[in-house]
Symmetry: C2
Subunit: 583 residues, 2 copies
């Protein structure tokens, strides 16, 4: 068999097995060495390819698709720094547990380490950030090697998706000539099986559950206590909200729900859901009043810094951190017991095993009362000028059912934490909280939009600037993307930190005002731009944008110093009201 | 000594030693954990800080400064994916041997691997791409530890700059509170030396030279041959052009000079310089006529693919590759002898040792004649519509003395190779030829512009798009940057490859037209935009842009298919003319 046929069959079998393993999307960045793989992906009838030129953006875009669909997404680029551009999204995917299949085309071995053009060392390029790395063989098309390449494809998808999902890296060397020949017969067929059909390794991957004995132990421990708190960090399982609120309702304990937990929004009963804890846990006296006797946390830590303080002051209480598979996410150093069990199954099993508990209902009532006071104050006061608060509130008011919100790190996610109150609307809240970078937001959000439902990206100006290239995808593919741009002309979060006291260097080093009119970028990418000056305008513009395809950017302009003052004012009022009530 | 004082003295001593070691520029991306280092750099009177928000752009910008100044430049970012964004430029710097000092701020150890926010594993983050990595100690301010931190600073700069220069990575953990106290006394003073002054380790780093015996051996070998060729790949030493042309003139042999060799431009005698070899070495018959008996190559391979073919057909000739320090850049697998000696010193020593050689002068004449024919044809024909050829030619005509040109990979560098003819003007030609990516161009070019001389960036549309965030620096710092944007609406180089025959997928996968009007971006960044339709217009706009500070973008629009046809037409004419002459 000659070169081109071998290359064609090898690559086609690989791609076909990816598809049989459930991969539906591939994000490709243009290049020459990746030609065999790129053309084969494009030829395959059952996979959708997205072409993005900027590889950094492409990787975040793929991550966005994977976060929305919860399935592995393939990435493909050529050799060289193209592959290095994937690194930020790979790091984020590693820490936030998102399945990615990273395919890098490479020069063949004789062109490595000898100064050949566009040849860099790509073996183990991403170090420990990938769950697995394989240097693939040069194309061969014996039955054995076609079986090998199919096995590697299936294996890679499985690894990316099992346990704690994450990125997997396959490096494919290719020699010229690179063009496949799709006129050949039966290139997609696995060979060498004779009469029997190849079983495609779609694994049945079970979920971890505690044994009866383990449930006994756990509920025993909990029953020795009276005051408990459930804390929900970021969650992706759509059944989780129902399971945890059912448990909490029957046990009569509060749930502190992070905006990314999917517990604040949806059709489940939310009587015990406490969403404004960040506001009142700022106060040390209040924290003391709310001292728990046990804490059960599902998932990573919530965004809230106040909750971190609360936790640090409760080193002496019994605490559990639940991980679906494995993990060690306990940043305070508190003595914590880790329970490795699927969150949904655990809630159901705990409820089955111990449907009633004798917990202190007054404790729950205190939380609910404080939460109510905080919510009321946060809902207060439509200012003349629109603030972050109105922006979040307004968005939640008009956001369509079954859409997604992709929130930027730094200030926006904190604004969401503060101002996203419980709602019966079903929508998903996403963010890149693995490493909390300001990079890749627009690409991630656009990737999430490929699934079909509208996506609203809530961005600051720095996040918008950092990933401005990410706007190309929304334009090119006419994705339903709405960007709510909260522009405070700089790094707003720093105004809350002690660095703000350094008047001399602050603006240059931390304020970093861009002084850019983003409308130009929006126009360049064929999007619709609007500036909202009031909450009413914002809601109107948002509503209109949800009804139309393509890129919509709605900007609000806020002032960083005013933002700090206004936030602090609200928190102060909340604390005063709560402490007043306690006397 | 308490925390803040320790942090202040430790960081100040580090920064001061960097400056004493010759570091003059630092590129900082905003963040919180990097506060101690960022503020200290800013406070130090003798270092210039550049603030760039997009870390990927920041790293290429730093690389651009380093390429222009040939000294190590510091980079500083906060923890998390910010550091991962440096990876593309680090890979490029590794392969193109550019000194960078990469400083990443980090969470302290107790916040690593425990799910703490914005904490990622940063130890050995860049793997084998850095010359050295050090995990730095948490701040301490005993005399011993201040000495340690100074030694590490000096050592890092030395390593980055010696031998084959490259990136060095230092990871600095910091605990809160992060603000230094610059009101303290004598924070910049090294301590613990008593009466004697600390010697700042500015090493005297010698250059490799062959011994007399080695020169004897080499010249012996060469004197057994009659037909030799010198090939100059990318070079940075400003004395090289004079040295190599002097040698070649006395030996009577041709020099094939890559545009990045700095040999095509400048005040040195260029009689033996052959610049149009890429055009006529395309032809197999001509290549045979020019068969050499030895080849001496200085530096990495030239851009020219024709030269690669020439080399592959001359496996049987004696060939030498000269590396200043060490390296193994021989991508054809030809039997090559590596000579590790400083290029300038070697040329001078060879000339001293063997001022005359009995080489075949007719061979040189043949090269010169063919080169002349090619040049004449290439200079021919101002088309109605401006082509890449006119663009390069026009630029070289009007470019100011002592300026720099930063050329994009893919098509522009090949256009430069074809159309940059020898000139007495002194200007530097730069490119990112370590890994030949299309990323980071605008940032690199802007970084080079910080040295003060005008920089012209020659970019394609894909390179322009990829690094569009790089335009911010030119705006923010009013750098003298002119961008010549050759827009053929897609990946022009692919039209030359066999992939172009695949009509079905070509446009989407390889053509990748952006369909973007870049004028919006230029306006957004406060730059001046112009569209040139003829060579005359282009020259006028360029001339004006060189006289003004700030960002200027001059676009020309070309057609990819026409480009291919026109190039092929020229090459055909050249080959015909040359072969005709030979009969």
């Amino acid at each position: 068999m000659e070169h081109t046929e071998i290359l064609t069959r090898y690559t086609a079998n690989f791609v076909d097995e990816l598809v049989k393993s459930g991969v539906t999307d591939v994000v490709i960045s243009p290049g020459s060495r990746s030609t065999p793989m790129a053309l084969t992906f494009t030829e395959h009838p059952s996979i959708k390819e997205w072409i993005l030129i900027d590889e950094r953006s492409a990787a975040f875009f793929a991550m966005g698709i994977a976060k929305q669909t919860k399935r592995a997404v393939a990435l493909l680029c050529t050799s060289g720094t193209a592959a290095a551009n994937y690194f930020p999204a790979i790091v984020e995917s590693h820490y936030s547990r998102v399945p990615l299949l990273v395919i890098t085309a490479d020069r063949p071995h004789e062109l490595r380490g000898v100064g050949a053009p566009q040849a860099i060392e790509q073996v183990k390029l991403y170090g420990d950030y990938v769950k697995e790395f394989h240097e693939m063989a040069l194309p061969e098309a014996t039955p054995e090697m076609l079986n090998y390449v199919r096995n590697k494809a299936a294996h890679a998808v499985y690894i990316a998706e099992e346990g704690n999902p994450g990125p997997v890296h396959l490096n494919f060397p290719y020699r010229e000539p690179l063009n496949p020949d799709f006129s050949l017969d039966a290139i997609w067929e696995p060979t060498g099986y004779g009469d029997y059909e190849r079983i495609h390794q779609v694994s049945l991957d079970g979920r971890k559950r505690l044994t009866t004995k383990q449930l006994e132990l756990l509920t025993e421990k909990l029953s020795t206590k009276k005051k408990g708190v459930i804390v929900c960090g970021p969650q992706v399982d759509e059944d989780f909200a129902e399971a945890v609120t059912t448990l909490a309702a029957h046990w009569g304990i509060p749930i502190l729900a992070d905006p990314l937990s999917q517990v604040r929004s949806g059709k489940h009963a939310k009587d015990n859901v406490i969403e404004s804890y960040d506001a009142f846990l700022r106060n040390a006296t209040i924290r003391k009043q709310l001292k728990p006797e046990f804490i059960i946390r599902f998932g990573a830590m919530p965004v809230s810094k106040s909750y971190l303080f609360y936790l640090k002051e409760n080193k002496d209480v019994m605490q559990f951190a639940i991980e679906n598979s494995a993990g060690y996410r306990e940043p305070t150093g508190n003595n914590t017991e880790f329970i490795f069990a699927d969150a949904v199954e655990l809630c159901k099993d705990l409820f089955s095993h111990a449907p009633e508990m004798d917990f202190n209902l007054a404790f729950l009532q205190t939380w609910k009362k404080m939460n109510y006071i905080a919510k009321t104050e946060l809902l207060h006061g439509a200012e003349d000028q629109i603030t972050e608060g109105e922006a979040v509130r307004g968005l939640v008011d008009v956001i369509p059912e079954n859409s997604s919100v992709y929130v930027a790190n730094s200030m926006p996610i904190r604004d969401f934490d503060t101002f996203m109150l419980t709602t019966d609307k079903s929508f998903t809240v996403l963010a890149n909280r693995g490493a909390n970078g300001i990079d890749g937001l627009l690409s991630s959000g656009s990737g999430a939009a490929t699934a079909g439902n509208p996506v609203t990206i809530v961005s600051g100006d720095l996040s918008f600037f950092h990933d401005m290239n990410g706007l190309l995808a929304a334009k090119h593919y006419q994705l339903n993307v709405t960007i709510l741009l909260i522009n405070n002309n700089g790094g707003g979060i720093f105004s809350f930190l002690s660095q703000a006291n350094d008047k001399k260097h602050f603006e240059a080093l931390f304020g970093t005002p861009l002084n850019i009119d983003f409308q130009h970028a929006v126009t360049m990418y064929g999007g619709e731009y609007n500036l909202a000056n009031t909450e009413a305008e914002l809601k109107e513009m948002l509503t209109k944008s949800f009804q139309e395809k393509g890129l919509h950017v709605i900007e609000i302009k806020t002032d960083r110093t005013e933002n700090v003052d206004w936030h602090r004012g609200k928190w102060q009022t909340i604390e005063q009201e709560i402490l007043k009530g306690k006397e």
